[in-house]
Amino acid sequence: MSFTHLHVSTAFSAHYGVSWPDELAQSAAATGATALACTDRDGLYGTVKHLKACMAAGLDPVVGVDLAVFDDEGDLRTQLSGRVVVLAHGHTNGAGYKALCRLISDAHARTTGKAGGVVPVAVTRAELASRVLDPDTLKPVLSVLIGPDSDVGRAMGGRRYLRPRTLFKSWLDAMPAGSVVAEVVSHLSAPGEPLSTAHAVRMLKLAQEYSVPAVLTNAVRYCAEDGAATADVLDSARTLKSLPELSAAPLLQPNGQGWLKSPDQMLQLGKEIIHAAGYGAADLQVLLAQTEALADRCRMDPVTDMGWKQPVVPEASVIGIEGDPLAELALRCEAGVARRFPGISGKAEADMRTRLDHELKIISNLGFASYFLTVAEVSRMILDMGVRAAARGSGASSLVNYLIDISQVNPLQHDLIFERFLSRDRATLPDIDIDVESAERHNVYRKIFDRFGAQRVTLMSMQNGYRARGAVRDAGMALGMDDGDVGEIAKQLWRFSARRFREALEEKPELREFADRVEQRDFSGNQQLDLLVDLTERLDRLPRHISMHPCGVILGDATLLDRTPVQPSGLGLPMSQFDKHDMDPMGMLKLDVLGVRMQSAMAFAVREIIRIHPTKADVVAAGAHPVGPDGKGPDYIREDGRIDLNAVPLDDEPTYELIRSTHTLGCFQIESPGQRELVGKMAPREFNDLIIDISLFRPGPMKSDMVRPFLEHRHGFAPEVYPHPDLKPVLQETHGVTVFHEQILKTFDVMTGCGLARADEFRRALGNEELEPKVEEFFRRKARENNYTPEVVDKVWGTLKAFGSFGFCKAHGAAFAVPTYQSAWLKAHHPEAFLAGLWEHDPGMYPKRLLVAEARRLGIPILPLDINRSGAEYRVERVVSGPDQGKLGIRLSLKGIFGLSGAELKRIVAGQPFDSLADLRARSRLTKPSIKRLAQLGAFDSLHRESGGAANRADLVQHLQNLQNGQHRKGPDVIEGQLALPLGDVELRNVKAELPPPTMIENVRAELDLMAVDVSEHLMSSHRPLLDRLGVTTADRLLGLRNGTEVLVAGVRIATQTPPMRGGRRVVFISIDDGTGCVDSVFFHEAQEKAGPLLFGTRLLLIRGTTRRTGPRGISLSASMAWDLSRIETLPFPGKESGSGRGPESGEPGSVPAEFRTPGPLSGIGRNLAITGLGG
């Protein structure tokens, strides 16, 4: 006998279902089922995974939803009557599935998409009724199951005879004939309780009374009995109540019987219900037959009903073409040839033509021309918005993409292989990712909706699953444990999956204390901790909620919303219930539109350049750009001074000089300590070097020691070695080291003649346990046939096997290298505008204060906050007076001042300029604390000077503080009506000069406290006398020292990294900034032991170490000891320290000169993360 489960929640019913679709499908198939339903709560979240699982298990999928229904008699916006299951009818050419999608979208339409919304996900009965009929045939294409959780089922309890009947009757009245089914469920709970056999009997009898078919289900939440405990914990997480609370309510499932029972067990269950109803064997047969009849009606054909794997792109008319898309694509490529390759001829042209024909042929065979046109349309639309955009990823491998302006990388120049992106053997839509300015991403989304129409566009969603921290928190809540206690445990969980919690307890040193407590449960009443570990493991990876994917946009034709349910995202735009794994199976075209802060920073810089230098001649002069033979300057600068960054040639020498100098802070991809070391060693000379640099700086190559041989060969320290002369052309650009996917493809092709498309299939198979042996067999056989010696075959296979799985796609590297080059170009030519862009959009890995320090290092004046000159953005400004007169400086912005609200900021900017404090108060309505903070930061200094007052900043702050404390007298301080008179600021003029002016240390401290940036001077400057006394070497002088010199360095921490290392021993990299540059130091095991708590806990560090020269321009430090610079008494003053090996405790407080005892600017500042990049 076969039985079909028609009511099954998968794990994708967040905080409800327990089991994954493939577990359920395999389990059902194992007991002889031929079909299985997936009816997740509120949506089709698990449906596509269900389809896949059913197809793999040989089952017919049944698709539906478990949906709440508004109470017709209550408040239709908030009150629910219960839940029903809605199943789509199959083999209806998609009519059932479409109705289901639309129904679910209806259910979400009134919700806000934000957490804590009051409107629940639900439909009205009228909506449900209207979706049940196919508008074309007027026949029902959905079935509605009225079960134990419906209003009817809920009314079954107690002795009320009439109520369930009335409710059932109104369902029958409301719904189209033939669409209502009674769902009979018994979880064998205690007599009289919900889900008891008695209730099932009542539902069965009700169905018979009204001649409505009844079906048997088990309202499944888990695959097997074992999942019941997990379901309890999920109930707790959903309701935010502990298990003891839920149990008392009682709100938990009555027992643990909601699992995927076998056909025999379901038959037995059916028998019990029929028997308890007093019916006979024939009635049992009817119940089971009706269940199977409904199942048959709902068997979906994934292809004809749901469009399985059939790519759908926007209609040609929408992307503005008539006729054949392929012809249009070829036409646009032709136009691109003239633009991208002006004057190309001879062999170069022939090669380019061959490549173009090759690509177009593959695109034609796959029928993807419309796809390319669509992406090109989006790309063009973004550029037309004036937003910077760049394709990333393997899309850069395509000449077509380059010709139609999707990508900025010429694949011929960099030898990129089209097959890495798309080949005749890959029938799935390729991925094209477009990077846009982060600040414009949401506008780009909205524009795409406008451009293609809301019916053709939706955002992609993503599933957020439990990870260790969230899991332990929710498990702790379920057990009713103390919040703080669980929070402490959660803090220590980092970077391992919840499923390995118990294992981690034994291994991880940071969990040792907790592990001991678990051990001692018998003595201290900690038995809950053991359960906590088990429940945490149970929650691992289970979906918690969906959210907007950070970049995915789905594009389709006018039927898109018939093929995916949508719900509001937090952004207000609709979001599909499908995630990235569902795109390909459902034939959905997904574009990744990523927000990249560096793109925003660069766009900002270009706008600042044009603002300060409004003509081409100005820009050429300011940026020291080549004037060219005609003296007019380069073509990439327009007459109005606008720089077309994408048109800047990739061979600018000053740019490479900057990169080689390793002063690359702020440059995309190459600013980290490790990258600064690598560019220092590698000394890039051309664009291809940047591609290689970026591709090498990946965990795989770094870990497997590819970098050292590469550098040795590059600098000629060691001869290049090729496994075989045939491979020299393939590996030459990387000096014999295999770095790129492209090289793996070519290696396969050269040695086996398999063709590049198959080579890419082989590459994908590397690392796959099942497929790799087959690839190896093929490779060895073919290579031997082609007369390669066994030694060569062995050696090459070793390389392929080792590097194949984590090598880097050169096209990715090339796409990444473009913004890297562009950012370095801006830094080399227009550092003021570039740094202003960096401060504004904060794209990098460092605290902002380091980039401010970088401006100082470059001699760029940092202009203080000024109530009339500072705006809502950082601004490049010509300095009008003082020692820096004529230079370009950067004016601080009013944004990012602690306590100053967005509304206050807007009112200040709208009201500028202000002629007095009274004017400022009246028009910007700033709070008193905000005014005081602005005064502390010196924002009124120039206003104060202009007023002619004799007092200083400290007096003004005290005056404002008094006002704030409400101690001000009515008097000349604030006079109503003063503001319109051009008398200057009476209030400022009259502030009494009493106090000494604030010291530099006090000013810098206020800046760090309120802006997390040291503006007036570098925060290390005030420590300089101390550092001189200690004999500290500054960063700028390190490079002049010999390798292996022992030095002391000091600075403020800017980066702390503990990358995974070969051999497993932890290495800690700490970078500090001393105002003259960065010092990158490495702490190996012994130094870590000595430095102890200083490793992660200290902001100001004094480090002793020996210099390690890493390249012509690179030097770093191998640390041997560290001190906390703010603990003066521990520091190794010269002469004080005798002998060796004396630790920080050896200091004698009495011997420290009093002049060094003044607290530095960081003293008393609590903002660790923003200042040092290290939390806690």
């Binding site: 979880h187 003891p244 027992n255 643990g256 379920a478 038995q527 088990d534």
Partner: protein, 107 residues
């Protein structure tokens, strides 16, 4: 109604339902059709471990409510109503509650 947890020997019929049991040195026959259900346990308070894969029986246990009469004296006037629980793992039976009639033992 008294609450007990006392081991009993139970003989079952073809469908798994109890037909006869030995308790307190006497044999009883089940004299009416038994009722059974699954009842939740406060497993988070009663158990120290709940690892993934611990199988059935953690969240609920199976209760059978039987009416029995002494086997040697089926005509005895007093029927006893007993709640039996079958341990899911071991299959062993325990007496959980005695309803109405005489209370042979009190807790």
């Amino acid at each position: 109604m008294g609450m007990f947890s006392e081991s009993v020997e139970v003989a079952c019929g073809l469908e798994g339902q109890p037909v006869e049991l030995q308790w307190g040195g006497r044999t009883y026959a089940v004299c009416a059709e038994p009722v059974h259900w699954y009842e939740r346990r406060q497993w988070w308070a009663e158990e120290q471990r709940a690892p993934l894969g611990s199988g059935p029986g953690l969240v609920d246990h199976e209760i059978w409510r039987v009416q029995v009469v002494p086997k040697e004296n089926p005509a005895a006037p007093e029927h006893l109503t007993l709640d039996l629980v079958r341990h899911t793992g071991s299959g062993r039976w325990r007496l959980l509650r005695i309803h109405d009639a005489l209370r042979h033992k009190t807790a």
